[in-house]
């Protein structure tokens, strides 16, 4: 992952324990995918909890989902999909050596990522002032507040860990943007850009599932 700190001994970007650029790139991509698998399992634990409780308390799940903000959720989905496009274009720019395009695209990706986090913060604030954070201050008017509290526990845990990944992602993109601006990446050596791209898309995919699982359970959306 962090194979970016310069190793400029022989062929630029080729670390000495690798025989060829090809081997290094393969290893790097495979390593990133294995890392993403660990991420799948990390979120998978929470998705399993989600499935177990949704199976047990479907009514509470629908009730909780009614209090999600449908519009902010949908807008955030759109924002993330756009950021994925700009990230994909950025990787393409690195592949083709288009440095002029690379840095602006990365900055656009960061901006969209920050927009997502900002919207998330607005949503969190709304839930917070409505006492929809689990714990002693939790309030919920409805027949089954206890189980709705579990829904909100999972909502905060899942979106919280997702948001944490977004924060890390924005940091990584900033890192890549800086070195891209310094001109480190070439069509021969752009693994870090590619890997950060893979990470970014992965985080996007997590949200693609979180959106229907959290926001779209009930068909009665509160406007």
């Amino acid at each position: 992952m962090s194979d970016s700190e310069a190793v400029l001994t022989h062929a630029p970007g080729l670390q000495e324990h690798f025989a060829t650029m090809e081997q290094q790139r393969d290893a790097s991509t495979m390593g990133m995918w294995v890392f993403l698998i660990t991420e799948i399992m990390f979120f998978g634990g929470m998705f399993t909890a989600y499935m177990v409780y949704r199976h047990a308390y479907p009514a509470a799940w629908a009730a909780g989902s009614e209090h999600m903000d449908f519009w902010w959720g949908t807008i955030n989905t759109v924002v993330l999909i756009c950021s994925s496009l700009s990230m994909a274009m950025a990787v393409r720019a690195a592949q083709t050596g288009a440095r002029k395009a690379l840095v602006p695209l990365l900055i656009l990706t960061m901006a969209l990522g920050c927009a997502f986090l900002g919207i998330k913060a607005v949503e969190y604030h709304g839930h917070w002032i409505e006492h929809q954070f689990p714990g002693p201050d939790f309030r919920f008017a409805g027949p089954d507040p206890r189980h709705v509290q579990i829904f909100f526990s999972l909502y905060w845990a899942m979106t919280g860990f997702h948001a944490l990944h977004m924060v890390i992602g924005v940091g990584l993109v900033a890192f890549i943007a800086f070195w891209g601006w310094k001109g480190r990446y070439t069509p021969e050596y752009y693994n870090p850009v590619e890997n950060v791209g893979l990470y970014w898309h992965f985080v996007d995919i997590v949200w693609i599932y979180l959106y229907p699982l959290l926001y779209l359970i009930s068909h009665k959306h509160v406007m």
């Binding site: 992952m1 962090s2 194979d3 700190e5 670390q15 000495e16 324990h17 025989a19 081997q23 393969d26 290893a27 495979m30 390593g31 294995v34 890392f35 698998i37 660990t38 991420e39 799948i40 399992m41 990390f42 979120f43 998978g44 634990g45 929470m46 399993t48 909890a49 177990v52 409780y53 047990a56 308390y57 689990p134 714990g135 002693p136 206890r146 189980h147 509290q149 579990i150 526990s153 999972l154 905060w156 845990a157 860990f161």
Partner: protein, 543 residues
């Protein structure tokens, strides 16, 4: 054969004498140096965990709780478990021996991601430091299993710091596994096909799969426990309709396969040793390789056999019991194949072989008692008793630690460039074997008699067996201290080792002892099968 003359070996530049100074170690990216960093760290944790174990055994000398307070005792067994499992057993073989040997065994200069490898060590140290902080500031008494709601709502000890410590150490384990998987896929020397890989590499590969797929689930589970404790999330809270069994499901989804993280690399070590000291190719190589992968995969399907009395459904219990028996088959295959490897061999009994034979015996007993525990009707009676304690110590200490010790002796010449004192080695191996059995065999009986585990005081009729167990633990402690003393001694006074003191097959023996930083002068090209002892004519003379 790359057998270098002794005097040359000593003055030649190698990974140990290439650079000196603290910085050259703490910032190294050489897999061999990182392996030594791990060796030092986990030895430290082993003795901390061992110290707790001795205090536990001393407390249990008498039925009354008289040596320490009840909550102190609870902290002792909790921290014994956490330190031993997460800071010794899981990193032991992969991070020390695997780190040192896997690149050499596949003819690579280093692991695929050397800096990630160093980061893994720092993560273990960070986690370990936090664990030490937890211990020194009052400890934690959840039991190593962190069962909710006890851990989330009822205890006032340092649960969150302990969980964070293990969370961090978990990432060390994940990154090591990731590194191994990519290394074994992408860095093998030309000609070294999968069917030519030493079983130690296969075992580490299988282990890495578990580390990568299982550990994240533990990480998120502990994170949720922390959030439930710190921020009052209610995912496992029965007060709010949460299910404490969900915690157990998620916990054991990792922690059962984690047993295989501990034992599989040990099996790899034993395969190397048995082949070498029988001077024979391992019997049924393909089945042995398949068996480790089989264990790694099937190991994920059996976790709820820890929960037969926990309140899971009858149907689930039947499914998990049946699946548990499937994982016993590849384990049986391994034992039979090691035994068959000795048939018509030319067997010598150096210390590593004694440990390997000890491993086979103790692992067999541990595995067979596993059949009892997978058996629903019996498990109801013996689960959560000393029977379970004895069973998993037979696997983890009798199995894994024996293999680790065997591996350390076997590759010590490669690691240090010196021989350990053979007779002391044999003596220590015997003491450990005897001490181990005396410690843990009585616990099987205690368990069937019904003595529950984690008891600070117990019914008086259990005392005799407990005294035997404590006596054994004392012997065991001596057994473990001995190698530490003579390993240290041998680093200065040991006989200089040549490149291949055991005339063993395997690429790692084709480099000088100790190896140079990049392992091989020339990248090796492999044209032979693993364990080609029939082609290695010269059997070592006196040893």
């Amino acid at each position: 054969m790359a057998t270098t003359a002794i005097s040359v070996t000593h003055e030649r530049e190698n990974y140990l004498n290439k650079e000196y100074g603290v910085k050259s170690w703490l910032l190294t990216t050489d897999h061999k140096r990182i392996a030594l960093l791990y060796l030092l760290s986990i030895t430290f944790f082993f003795f901390i965990g061992g110290f707790f174990a001795l205090l536990i055994r001393l407390e249990l000398l008498t039925p009354a709780g008289d040596l320490v307070q009840a909550d102190t005792y609870n902290k002792l067994f909790t921290m014994h478990g956490q330190v031993m499992v997460f800071f010794f057993l899981i990193p032991a073989v992969p991070a020390v021996l695997g780190n040192f040997l896997v690149p050499m065994m596949i003819g690579a200069k280093d692991l695929a991601f050397p800096r990630l490898n160093l980061l893994s060590w720092y993560l273990l140290i960070a986690g370990g430091a936090l664990m030490l902080y937890t211990i020194l500031t009052g400890g934690v008494d959840t039991g190593w299993t962190f069962y909710t709601p006890l851990s989330t709502a009822f205890l006032n000890t340092h649960v969150i710091t302990a969980a964070v410590a293990i969370f961090i150490a978990g990432f060390s384990s994940i990154l090591t596994g990731l590194n191994f998987i990519v290394t074994i896929h992408r860095m093998r020397a030309p000609g070294l096909t999968w069917s030519r890989l030493p079983l130690f590499v296969w075992a580490n590969y299988a282990t890495s799969i578990i580390q990568v797929l299982g550990t994240p689930v533990l990480a998120v589970t502990l994170a949720l426990v922390g959030l439930e404790r710190g921020l009052h999330l209610g995912i496992f809270d029965p007060q709010r309709g949460g299910d404490p069994l969900l915690f157990q499901h998620l916990f054991w989804f990792y922690s059962h396969p984690a047993v295989y993280i501990m034992i599989l690399p040990g099996m790899g070590v034993v395969s190397e040793i048995v082949a070498c000291f029988s001077r024979k190719r391992i019997f049924g190589y393909k089945f042995m390789a398949l068996a480790v992968i089989g264990i790694a995969v099937l190991g994920f399907l059996v976790w709820a056999h820890h929960m037969f009395v926990a309140g899971i459904s009858l149907y689930a219990a039947l499914v998990f019991s049946l699946l548990s028996y499937f994982v016993a088959v590849p384990s049986a295959i391994k034992v039979f194949n090691w035994t068959a490897t000795m048939y018509k061999g030319s067997i010598s009994f150096a210390t590593p072989m004694l440990y390997a034979l000890g491993f086979i015996g103790l692992f067999t007993m541990g595995g067979l008692t596993g059949l009892f525990l997978a058996c629903l009707g019996i498990d109801v009676h013996v689960t959560d008793t000393y029977f379970v304690v004895a069973h998993f110590h037979y696997i983890m200490v009798g199995g894994m630690v024996m293999a680790y010790m065997g591996g350390l002796h076997f590759w010590w010449p490669k690691i240090s460039g010196r021989m350990y004192p053979e007779n002391w080695g044999r003596l220590a191996a015997m003491i450990i074997f005897v001490g181990f059995n005396l410690t843990f065999f009585p616990q099987f009986i205690l368990g069937y008699l019904g003595m529950p585990r984690r008891y600070w005081q117990y019914a008086p009729e259990f005392q005799v067996l407990n005294v035997l167990s404590t006596a054994g633990a004392t012997i065991l402690a001596v057994g473990y201290l001995l190698p530490m003393v003579y390993f240290l001694w041998s680093m200065r006074y040991g006989k200089i080792a040549d490149a291949n003191p055991w005339s063993a097959a395997g690429l790692e023996w084709r480099t000088p002892s100790p190896p140079p930083t990049h392992n091989f002068e020339e990248p090796p090209v492999v044209t032979w099968e693993a364990y080609n002892y029939d082609e290695l004519k010269e059997a070592p003379g006196e040893r």
